[in-house]
Symmetry: C2
Subunit: 214 residues, 2 copies
Protein backbone atom coordinates (compact mmCIF):
# COMPACT_ATOMS: atom_id res chain seq x y z
CA UNK A 1 0.00 0.00 0.00
CA UNK A 2 1.40 3.36 -1.02
CA UNK A 3 0.70 6.11 1.48
CA UNK A 4 0.89 9.72 0.42
CA UNK A 5 2.45 11.21 3.51
CA UNK A 6 4.76 14.17 3.43
CA UNK A 7 8.24 12.70 3.61
CA UNK A 8 11.12 14.92 4.65
CA UNK A 9 14.32 15.26 2.68
CA UNK A 10 16.22 13.73 5.62
CA UNK A 11 13.99 10.64 5.50
CA UNK A 12 14.54 10.32 1.74
CA UNK A 13 18.30 10.35 2.30
CA UNK A 14 17.86 7.63 4.92
CA UNK A 15 15.66 5.55 2.58
CA UNK A 16 18.31 5.71 -0.14
CA UNK A 17 20.79 4.44 2.43
CA UNK A 18 18.51 1.57 3.51
CA UNK A 19 18.19 0.62 -0.14
CA UNK A 20 21.97 0.46 -0.50
CA UNK A 21 22.36 -1.80 2.55
CA UNK A 22 19.43 -4.00 1.56
CA UNK A 23 20.87 -4.47 -1.93
CA UNK A 24 24.14 -5.57 -0.33
CA UNK A 25 22.34 -8.07 1.93
CA UNK A 26 20.33 -9.34 -1.05
CA UNK A 27 23.47 -9.84 -3.12
CA UNK A 28 24.84 -11.93 -0.23
CA UNK A 29 21.72 -14.15 -0.42
CA UNK A 30 20.36 -13.03 2.94
CA UNK A 31 16.56 -13.26 2.91
CA UNK A 32 15.43 -11.72 6.22
CA UNK A 33 16.69 -8.90 8.42
CA UNK A 34 15.50 -7.44 11.73
CA UNK A 35 15.40 -3.70 12.40
CA UNK A 36 17.86 -4.45 15.19
CA UNK A 37 20.45 -6.01 12.85
CA UNK A 38 19.94 -3.35 10.19
CA UNK A 39 20.24 -0.66 12.86
CA UNK A 40 23.52 -2.08 14.07
CA UNK A 41 24.89 -2.28 10.52
CA UNK A 42 23.84 1.27 9.67
CA UNK A 43 24.26 2.91 13.05
CA UNK A 44 20.60 3.96 13.12
CA UNK A 45 18.14 3.20 15.93
CA UNK A 46 15.85 0.19 15.23
CA UNK A 47 12.77 2.24 16.20
CA UNK A 48 13.59 4.90 13.60
CA UNK A 49 14.01 2.17 10.99
CA UNK A 50 10.61 0.69 11.84
CA UNK A 51 9.06 4.15 11.73
CA UNK A 52 10.59 4.85 8.28
CA UNK A 53 9.44 1.50 6.89
CA UNK A 54 5.94 1.99 8.32
CA UNK A 55 5.74 5.36 6.59
CA UNK A 56 6.11 3.90 3.12
CA UNK A 57 4.49 0.48 3.20
CA UNK A 58 3.39 -2.60 5.08
CA UNK A 59 5.91 -5.34 5.76
CA UNK A 60 5.14 -8.66 7.46
CA UNK A 61 4.52 -9.26 11.14
CA UNK A 62 6.48 -7.69 13.94
CA UNK A 63 9.05 -9.94 15.57
CA UNK A 64 9.67 -11.90 12.38
CA UNK A 65 12.01 -9.40 10.78
CA UNK A 66 11.68 -7.97 7.29
CA UNK A 67 11.84 -9.88 4.04
CA UNK A 68 14.78 -8.44 2.08
CA UNK A 69 13.09 -8.92 -1.30
CA UNK A 70 9.95 -7.05 -0.15
CA UNK A 71 11.99 -4.22 1.35
CA UNK A 72 13.98 -3.88 -1.84
CA UNK A 73 10.85 -3.85 -3.96
CA UNK A 74 8.84 -1.39 -1.84
CA UNK A 75 11.69 1.04 -1.14
CA UNK A 76 12.87 0.82 -4.75
CA UNK A 77 9.37 1.61 -5.98
CA UNK A 78 9.00 4.40 -3.46
CA UNK A 79 12.24 5.99 -4.62
CA UNK A 80 11.32 5.54 -8.28
CA UNK A 81 14.29 3.25 -8.95
CA UNK A 82 12.11 0.33 -9.95
CA UNK A 83 12.25 1.63 -13.52
CA UNK A 84 15.30 2.47 -15.57
CA UNK A 85 16.44 6.01 -16.30
CA UNK A 86 18.34 7.27 -19.33
CA UNK A 87 20.89 9.98 -18.60
CA UNK A 88 23.29 12.22 -20.49
CA UNK A 89 26.33 14.10 -19.23
CA UNK A 90 26.81 17.73 -20.25
CA UNK A 91 30.51 18.53 -20.17
CA UNK A 92 32.98 15.75 -21.01
CA UNK A 93 35.85 17.07 -18.86
CA UNK A 94 37.44 15.24 -15.94
CA UNK A 95 34.32 14.92 -13.85
CA UNK A 96 32.01 14.04 -16.75
CA UNK A 97 34.44 11.31 -17.84
CA UNK A 98 34.75 10.02 -14.27
CA UNK A 99 30.97 9.65 -14.01
CA UNK A 100 30.80 7.94 -17.43
CA UNK A 101 33.48 5.49 -16.28
CA UNK A 102 31.59 4.53 -13.16
CA UNK A 103 29.62 1.32 -13.73
CA UNK A 104 27.66 1.51 -10.46
CA UNK A 105 24.89 3.70 -11.90
CA UNK A 106 24.03 1.28 -14.72
CA UNK A 107 23.88 -1.58 -12.22
CA UNK A 108 20.96 0.15 -10.49
CA UNK A 109 19.20 1.10 -13.73
CA UNK A 110 20.64 4.56 -14.44
CA UNK A 111 22.25 4.39 -17.90
CA UNK A 112 24.48 7.15 -19.25
CA UNK A 113 23.65 7.22 -22.97
CA UNK A 114 26.02 9.97 -24.16
CA UNK A 115 28.32 12.80 -23.13
CA UNK A 116 28.06 16.22 -24.77
CA UNK A 117 30.74 18.84 -25.26
CA UNK A 118 31.75 21.70 -27.54
CA UNK A 119 35.47 20.80 -27.60
CA UNK A 120 36.30 19.38 -31.05
CA UNK A 121 39.18 17.38 -29.53
CA UNK A 122 36.70 15.46 -27.37
CA UNK A 123 33.82 15.07 -29.83
CA UNK A 124 33.93 11.63 -31.47
CA UNK A 125 35.82 10.02 -28.58
CA UNK A 126 34.31 7.25 -26.48
CA UNK A 127 34.49 7.00 -22.69
CA UNK A 128 33.64 3.57 -21.33
CA UNK A 129 32.08 2.88 -24.74
CA UNK A 130 29.85 5.97 -24.47
CA UNK A 131 30.06 8.56 -27.29
CA UNK A 132 31.05 12.18 -26.77
CA UNK A 133 28.72 14.12 -29.07
CA UNK A 134 28.62 17.72 -30.31
CA UNK A 135 26.39 19.87 -28.12
CA UNK A 136 24.49 20.93 -31.26
CA UNK A 137 22.80 17.52 -31.26
CA UNK A 138 21.68 17.71 -27.63
CA UNK A 139 18.00 18.48 -28.10
CA UNK A 140 17.31 15.86 -30.77
CA UNK A 141 19.30 13.25 -28.83
CA UNK A 142 17.25 13.85 -25.68
CA UNK A 143 14.00 13.53 -27.58
CA UNK A 144 15.01 10.51 -29.71
CA UNK A 145 16.52 8.52 -26.81
CA UNK A 146 13.97 9.05 -24.07
CA UNK A 147 16.49 10.81 -21.83
CA UNK A 148 15.01 11.92 -18.52
CA UNK A 149 18.08 13.00 -16.52
CA UNK A 150 20.76 15.53 -17.48
CA UNK A 151 24.02 15.55 -15.50
CA UNK A 152 25.60 19.02 -15.42
CA UNK A 153 29.40 18.96 -15.31
CA UNK A 154 30.09 22.31 -16.96
CA UNK A 155 31.82 25.48 -15.81
CA UNK A 156 29.70 27.95 -13.92
CA UNK A 157 29.47 30.61 -16.62
CA UNK A 158 27.38 28.33 -18.84
CA UNK A 159 25.45 26.31 -16.25
CA UNK A 160 22.17 28.21 -16.56
CA UNK A 161 22.37 28.27 -20.37
CA UNK A 162 22.81 24.48 -20.42
CA UNK A 163 19.99 24.11 -17.89
CA UNK A 164 17.65 26.10 -20.13
CA UNK A 165 18.54 23.94 -23.15
CA UNK A 166 17.89 20.75 -21.14
CA UNK A 167 14.53 22.03 -19.95
CA UNK A 168 13.55 23.15 -23.45
CA UNK A 169 14.35 19.62 -24.68
CA UNK A 170 11.98 18.14 -22.09
CA UNK A 171 14.36 16.82 -19.44
CA UNK A 172 12.65 15.92 -16.12
CA UNK A 173 15.58 15.85 -13.69
CA UNK A 174 18.95 17.56 -13.40
CA UNK A 175 21.87 16.18 -11.41
CA UNK A 176 23.87 19.35 -10.86
CA UNK A 177 27.59 18.97 -10.15
CA UNK A 178 28.35 22.61 -10.93
CA UNK A 179 29.25 25.04 -8.16
CA UNK A 180 26.18 27.22 -8.61
CA UNK A 181 22.47 26.80 -8.08
CA UNK A 182 20.21 26.68 -11.10
CA UNK A 183 16.76 28.10 -11.86
CA UNK A 184 14.25 25.54 -13.07
CA UNK A 185 10.47 25.44 -13.46
CA UNK A 186 8.56 23.50 -10.82
CA UNK A 187 8.08 20.35 -12.90
CA UNK A 188 11.86 19.89 -13.28
CA UNK A 189 13.63 18.39 -10.26
CA UNK A 190 17.19 19.14 -9.23
CA UNK A 191 19.65 17.33 -6.99
CA UNK A 192 22.86 19.23 -6.28
CA UNK A 193 26.23 17.65 -5.56
CA UNK A 194 28.31 20.56 -4.34
CA UNK A 195 31.81 19.46 -3.37
CA UNK A 196 32.67 22.74 -1.61
CA UNK A 197 29.55 22.61 0.56
CA UNK A 198 30.48 19.08 1.54
CA UNK A 199 34.07 20.04 2.33
CA UNK A 200 32.90 23.00 4.45
CA UNK A 201 30.63 20.64 6.38
CA UNK A 202 33.59 18.36 7.10
CA UNK A 203 35.62 21.36 8.20
CA UNK A 204 32.84 22.33 10.63
CA UNK A 205 32.56 18.81 12.01
CA UNK A 206 36.31 18.75 12.63
CA UNK A 207 36.14 22.08 14.40
CA UNK A 208 33.04 21.74 16.44
CA UNK A 209 31.61 19.10 18.69
CA UNK A 210 28.14 20.65 18.98
CA UNK A 211 26.64 18.98 15.96
CA UNK A 212 23.26 17.42 16.41
CA UNK A 213 22.78 14.48 14.08
CA UNK A 214 19.56 14.69 12.08
CA UNK B 1 30.53 36.37 20.04
CA UNK B 2 30.64 32.61 19.58
CA UNK B 3 27.59 30.86 20.97
CA UNK B 4 27.71 27.15 21.70
CA UNK B 5 24.25 26.19 20.60
CA UNK B 6 23.38 22.84 19.13
CA UNK B 7 23.33 23.40 15.40
CA UNK B 8 21.56 20.87 13.19
CA UNK B 9 23.17 19.26 10.18
CA UNK B 10 20.56 20.96 7.98
CA UNK B 11 21.60 24.39 9.33
CA UNK B 12 25.27 23.58 8.68
CA UNK B 13 24.44 22.76 5.06
CA UNK B 14 22.62 26.11 4.81
CA UNK B 15 25.55 27.99 6.38
CA UNK B 16 27.94 26.47 3.83
CA UNK B 17 25.58 27.70 1.14
CA UNK B 18 25.42 31.23 2.60
CA UNK B 19 29.21 31.26 2.65
CA UNK B 20 29.32 30.39 -1.04
CA UNK B 21 26.90 33.18 -1.99
CA UNK B 22 28.61 35.71 0.26
CA UNK B 23 32.00 34.89 -1.29
CA UNK B 24 30.47 35.50 -4.71
CA UNK B 25 29.04 38.88 -3.61
CA UNK B 26 32.37 39.80 -2.02
CA UNK B 27 34.27 38.96 -5.19
CA UNK B 28 31.89 41.30 -7.04
CA UNK B 29 32.84 44.12 -4.61
CA UNK B 30 29.43 44.25 -2.97
CA UNK B 31 29.78 45.42 0.65
CA UNK B 32 26.29 45.11 2.16
CA UNK B 33 23.38 42.72 1.68
CA UNK B 34 19.92 42.51 3.23
CA UNK B 35 18.34 39.22 4.31
CA UNK B 36 15.64 40.03 1.75
CA UNK B 37 18.12 40.22 -1.17
CA UNK B 38 20.06 37.19 -0.01
CA UNK B 39 16.80 35.28 0.43
CA UNK B 40 15.73 36.11 -3.11
CA UNK B 41 19.12 35.05 -4.50
CA UNK B 42 19.15 31.80 -2.57
CA UNK B 43 15.44 31.01 -2.54
CA UNK B 44 15.37 30.94 1.28
CA UNK B 45 13.03 32.98 3.48
CA UNK B 46 14.60 36.19 4.90
CA UNK B 47 13.41 35.29 8.41
CA UNK B 48 15.20 31.93 8.29
CA UNK B 49 18.37 33.72 7.15
CA UNK B 50 18.16 36.18 10.07
CA UNK B 51 17.53 33.28 12.47
CA UNK B 52 20.57 31.37 11.14
CA UNK B 53 22.83 34.42 11.37
CA UNK B 54 21.60 35.20 14.89
CA UNK B 55 22.45 31.67 15.94
CA UNK B 56 26.13 32.05 15.15
CA UNK B 57 27.03 35.69 15.86
CA UNK B 58 26.04 39.30 16.11
CA UNK B 59 25.86 41.40 12.97
CA UNK B 60 25.08 45.13 12.81
CA UNK B 61 21.74 46.79 13.31
CA UNK B 62 18.48 45.57 11.88
CA UNK B 63 17.29 47.45 8.80
CA UNK B 64 20.79 48.31 7.67
CA UNK B 65 21.56 44.98 6.08
CA UNK B 66 24.59 42.83 6.75
CA UNK B 67 28.20 43.73 6.08
CA UNK B 68 29.53 41.14 3.60
CA UNK B 69 33.05 41.15 5.09
CA UNK B 70 31.72 40.47 8.61
CA UNK B 71 29.41 37.72 7.40
CA UNK B 72 32.27 36.07 5.54
CA UNK B 73 34.54 36.27 8.57
CA UNK B 74 32.03 35.03 11.13
CA UNK B 75 30.54 32.24 9.02
CA UNK B 76 34.01 31.22 7.82
CA UNK B 77 35.25 31.03 11.39
CA UNK B 78 32.14 29.17 12.48
CA UNK B 79 32.64 26.56 9.74
CA UNK B 80 36.35 26.28 10.49
CA UNK B 81 37.35 27.52 7.03
CA UNK B 82 39.21 30.52 8.39
CA UNK B 83 42.33 28.36 8.56
CA UNK B 84 43.89 26.29 5.84
CA UNK B 85 43.65 22.50 5.65
CA UNK B 86 46.11 20.06 4.12
CA UNK B 87 44.56 17.10 2.35
CA UNK B 88 45.67 13.92 0.60
CA UNK B 89 43.78 11.73 -1.85
CA UNK B 90 43.83 7.96 -1.37
CA UNK B 91 43.30 6.31 -4.75
CA UNK B 92 44.62 8.07 -7.86
CA UNK B 93 42.01 6.68 -10.27
CA UNK B 94 39.53 8.76 -12.29
CA UNK B 95 37.81 10.38 -9.34
CA UNK B 96 41.00 11.02 -7.35
CA UNK B 97 42.55 12.69 -10.38
CA UNK B 98 39.41 14.74 -11.02
CA UNK B 99 39.51 16.08 -7.46
CA UNK B 100 43.24 16.84 -7.75
CA UNK B 101 42.57 18.76 -10.97
CA UNK B 102 39.92 20.93 -9.36
CA UNK B 103 41.38 24.26 -8.28
CA UNK B 104 38.32 25.42 -6.34
CA UNK B 105 39.37 23.69 -3.11
CA UNK B 106 42.75 25.42 -2.89
CA UNK B 107 41.03 28.79 -3.47
CA UNK B 108 39.16 28.34 -0.20
CA UNK B 109 42.16 27.05 1.72
CA UNK B 110 41.91 23.29 1.21
CA UNK B 111 45.18 22.17 -0.40
CA UNK B 112 45.65 18.69 -1.85
CA UNK B 113 49.28 17.86 -1.05
CA UNK B 114 49.60 14.41 -2.62
CA UNK B 115 47.73 11.45 -4.12
CA UNK B 116 48.49 7.89 -3.00
CA UNK B 117 48.13 4.65 -4.92
CA UNK B 118 49.56 1.14 -5.17
CA UNK B 119 49.57 1.04 -8.98
CA UNK B 120 53.22 1.26 -10.17
CA UNK B 121 52.03 2.81 -13.46
CA UNK B 122 50.60 5.79 -11.56
CA UNK B 123 53.28 6.23 -8.88
CA UNK B 124 55.68 9.01 -9.87
CA UNK B 125 53.17 10.78 -12.12
CA UNK B 126 51.92 14.29 -11.36
CA UNK B 127 48.31 15.45 -11.57
CA UNK B 128 47.90 19.22 -11.64
CA UNK B 129 51.47 19.37 -10.33
CA UNK B 130 50.61 17.10 -7.37
CA UNK B 131 52.68 13.92 -6.93
CA UNK B 132 51.22 10.42 -6.94
CA UNK B 133 53.12 8.59 -4.18
CA UNK B 134 53.43 4.94 -3.17
CA UNK B 135 50.95 4.03 -0.45
CA UNK B 136 53.86 2.70 1.64
CA UNK B 137 54.82 6.31 2.40
CA UNK B 138 51.35 7.34 3.55
CA UNK B 139 51.86 7.41 7.30
CA UNK B 140 55.13 9.36 7.29
CA UNK B 141 53.77 11.80 4.69
CA UNK B 142 50.71 12.56 6.84
CA UNK B 143 52.85 13.18 9.89
CA UNK B 144 55.59 15.20 8.12
CA UNK B 145 53.17 17.43 6.18
CA UNK B 146 50.57 18.27 8.79
CA UNK B 147 47.78 16.58 6.80
CA UNK B 148 44.42 16.77 8.53
CA UNK B 149 42.01 15.50 5.85
CA UNK B 150 42.11 12.22 3.92
CA UNK B 151 39.98 11.90 0.77
CA UNK B 152 38.92 8.31 0.14
CA UNK B 153 38.56 7.44 -3.55
CA UNK B 154 39.29 3.72 -3.37
CA UNK B 155 37.29 0.61 -4.22
CA UNK B 156 34.99 -0.67 -1.54
CA UNK B 157 36.96 -3.81 -0.63
CA UNK B 158 39.83 -1.73 0.80
CA UNK B 159 37.94 1.31 2.15
CA UNK B 160 38.00 0.26 5.81
CA UNK B 161 41.65 -0.83 5.61
CA UNK B 162 42.63 2.61 4.22
CA UNK B 163 40.47 4.29 6.86
CA UNK B 164 42.30 2.43 9.62
CA UNK B 165 45.69 3.46 8.19
CA UNK B 166 44.58 7.11 8.01
CA UNK B 167 43.35 7.06 11.60
CA UNK B 168 46.52 5.35 12.81
CA UNK B 169 48.52 8.14 11.14
CA UNK B 170 46.56 10.77 13.05
CA UNK B 171 44.16 12.10 10.43
CA UNK B 172 41.28 14.22 11.85
CA UNK B 173 38.75 14.18 9.02
CA UNK B 174 37.81 11.83 6.20
CA UNK B 175 36.01 12.90 3.04
CA UNK B 176 34.56 9.59 1.92
CA UNK B 177 33.70 9.20 -1.79
CA UNK B 178 33.51 5.42 -1.59
CA UNK B 179 30.19 3.63 -1.81
CA UNK B 180 30.29 2.22 1.70
CA UNK B 181 30.14 3.68 5.18
CA UNK B 182 33.26 3.58 7.33
CA UNK B 183 33.89 2.92 11.02
CA UNK B 184 35.87 5.62 12.79
CA UNK B 185 36.53 6.53 16.42
CA UNK B 186 34.59 9.51 17.78
CA UNK B 187 37.41 12.05 17.41
CA UNK B 188 37.63 11.45 13.65
CA UNK B 189 34.95 13.19 11.57
CA UNK B 190 33.50 11.87 8.33
CA UNK B 191 31.61 13.51 5.48
CA UNK B 192 30.24 11.13 2.88
CA UNK B 193 29.69 11.95 -0.78
CA UNK B 194 27.64 9.05 -2.03
CA UNK B 195 26.72 9.45 -5.70
CA UNK B 196 24.17 6.62 -5.68
CA UNK B 197 22.31 8.07 -2.69
CA UNK B 198 22.17 11.40 -4.48
CA UNK B 199 20.91 9.82 -7.70
CA UNK B 200 18.21 7.89 -5.80
CA UNK B 201 17.10 11.16 -4.20
CA UNK B 202 16.76 12.74 -7.64
CA UNK B 203 14.80 9.72 -8.83
CA UNK B 204 12.42 10.12 -5.89
CA UNK B 205 11.98 13.85 -6.51
CA UNK B 206 11.12 13.13 -10.14
CA UNK B 207 8.60 10.52 -9.12
CA UNK B 208 6.92 12.12 -6.19
CA UNK B 209 5.53 15.52 -5.46
CA UNK B 210 5.11 15.01 -1.73
CA UNK B 211 8.56 16.15 -0.70
CA UNK B 212 8.75 18.55 2.19
CA UNK B 213 11.78 20.80 1.90
CA UNK B 214 13.89 20.86 5.05
Amino acid sequence: MQKHKIISNTTIKRLTKYYRYIEELDSNDISMVSSHTLGKLMNISPSLIRQDFNAIGEFGRQGHGYCIKSLKEVIGKFLGIDKSHNMIVIGAGNLGQTLANYSGFAEVGFQIKALFDINPKLIGMKINNIDIIDLDHLKSFIQDNDIDIGILCVRKHCVQEMTDILIDAGIKGIWNFSTIDIDVPQHVKVENVNFSNSLFTLSYLMKDKYLKKD
